[in-house]
Amino acid sequence: MILDIFAYGTFFLATALTYAIVCLGLNLQWGQTGLFNVGVAGFVAIGAYTSALLTTPATPGRFGGYGLPIAVGWILAIVVAAAASWCVGKITLRLRADYLAITTFGVAVVIQLVALNAEPLTGGPFGIGFIPRPFASLAEQVALYDVLHLLLVAAVLAAVYLVLERLAGSPWGRVLGAIREDEEAAVSLGKDANGFRLQAFVLGGAIMGLAGAIQAHFIGFIAPENYLPALTFQVWAMLIIGGSGNNRGAILGAILVWGLWSFSGAAIGSLVPADFQARAATLRIVVVGLALVSILLWRPRGLLPE
């Protein structure tokens, strides 16, 4: 029994901390720079699919399958997600702020379409399996494997957190804050506002891609339905509830919202009759949505304000 709780706890935390990495990427884009990305799920998917395609064993009829080492997959996931963010940012960041929202929304929709339909590239609706897992030789000892994985995710999260904290305190981070608060003043001091915005957007997208890759290699299987708009919404709820602009808030929000999500799932699983569960599962989004709207109304700066 205690072992069960321990196993569930490590699995829960590992997932929550992966979300926390995504949330840190979003915090750089939104919290620190004021860029509104509605396509978070798309950038996470890019990272997951890139790494999965490069590291899986060869599969007939599908692109990729080069069996590359996991670390190479993660690095290329970062690179491809950054490149995609650069293209999106380059087109939209010079326009009015909510065009970025609409375009990133479109990016997520198109990536979902490609993941579903481009079977030779993405495996189509069945997704990609046999994604190699770090510490695979220990997969027999489930508890040990989960703990090692949790430590790995925590280490990546800590590294991302430390880098972002350093950046936030650096002259670069202060320029971002200045652009967010008063763009005209920053520009009049000779700062290239769009250049700084693009850098923040690309770095944030790269972090989301990394998190997608980590998650894909933890579960060992990915499919298009992992990257629906609900994912974007969860990450946004995490950031706003935790406190946007505050990296510790982003991590706290990720753990709390993932907890709420898992708890409402478990509650539905035990309280609702079996043939009604698929319908009731849609209510989880409503629960998180209500939590988000109430935070926006009653504590708009989140639990740990900037």
Binding site: F105, L113, F233, A280, I285, V293
Partner: protein, 301 residues
């Protein structure tokens, strides 16, 4: 390539245009990109379904008009759907956006609208399940129009209905006091309030008009395609693309944008198959943002 895509594209484009009018109005008057707009479409379509089915159960002999697949029941359903669209839009504004408008910046409104749209869609899916539904299960014969083009009577009716609604919208916006107030407010809210225009009334009118048109386009989509909880979400990208292509704030632009998107989608489906339909709107959106970000009829910001 035959001309069939023109007929299909115009019918689809008319529905996109109707939806995009509300989007472009909320965008220019309330000044934020409203993701809830798609849910007015879906909730409208289901209201139409519930009311029409209820009426058919009450009087099974109501039948259908001549060559069309529906009768009085669905026309009353359409009316009920538009009322539901108005009510939903006003409720959403009263309980969420009104307070947020007072205390925060535009982008928080966009986030809230994104969250609300997901919550409304999940709630709808909870009530009606994710199975597709239809107003009528009869198969309609398409009538040849010449040049290899075939249309169903329903498609023609949808086009006529959309044209009728457009005339009504045009009259409201150009000939009534409320419409003129809306246009003045979208040009310059401060100046409009100084001139004695009631800002709160303009906001309510904008939501009501947008909600009613979106719900009507939802019923028309239900007549010509099918009814699903995600139908509004699937329309969002075409709607945004149409509103931006036409130029934010321009009602004729939104209609024109809708028709262009509809035609391009139908052409794309004929050439490349239906799997990538949604990507067409995205490509047009990107092209407009690159080449002419103010759209066809848009003012310079």
């Amino acid at each position: 390539m035959n001309l069939q895509f023109v007929a299909d594209g115009l019918a689809m484009g008319a529905m996109i245009g109707l939806g995009a009018i509300g989007l472009t109005l909320t965008y220019s008057i309330l000044r934020f990109a409203n993701f809830v707009h798609g849910e007015f479409i879906a909730w409208g379509a289901y209201t139409g379904l519930v009311v029409a089915n209820g009426l058919i159960v009450l009087s099974p002999k109501s039948g259908s008009f001549g060559p069309f697949s529906f009768g009085w029941a669905l026309l009353i359903g359409l009316f009920a759907a538009m009322l539901c669209g108005v009510a939903l839009a006003l409720l959403v504004d009263k309980f969420a956006f009104k307070q947020l408008r007072m205390q925060s910046n535009t982008i928080v409104l966009v986030i809230a609208s994104f969250g609300l749209s997901l919550a409304l869609r999940s709630l709808l899916e909870f009530f009606v399940t994710s199975q597709p539904a239809y107003y009528s299960r009869d198969i309609q014969m398409a009538v040849p129009l010449g040049l290899g083009v075939r249309v169903t009577p329903d498609q023609l009716l949808v086009l006529a209905l959309a044209a009728g609604l457009l005339v009504v919208v045009h009259v409201i916006l150009t000939r009534t006091h409320a419409g003129r107030a809306m246009r003045a407010f979208s040009e310059n809210p401060l100046l409009a309030e100084v001139a004695g225009i009631d800002g709160a009334a303009v906001v309510r009118m904008t939501w009501a008009l947008g909600g009613a048109l979106a719900a009507a386009s939802g019923v028309m989509l239900g007549i010509t395609v099918q009814i699903r909880p995600t139908m509004g979400f699937d329309m969002l990208l075409p709607l945004f693309a149409a509103a931006i292509l036409g130029g934010i704030g321009s009602v004729p632009g939104a209609v024109m944008g809708g028709l262009i998107i509809g035609l391009a989608e139908a052409g794309g489906v004929q050439l490349f198959g239906g799997s990538y339909r949604a990507a067409v709107a995205f490509l047009i959106l990107i092209a407009v943002l690159l080449v002419r970000p103010n759209g066809l009829f848009g003012r310079r910001p």
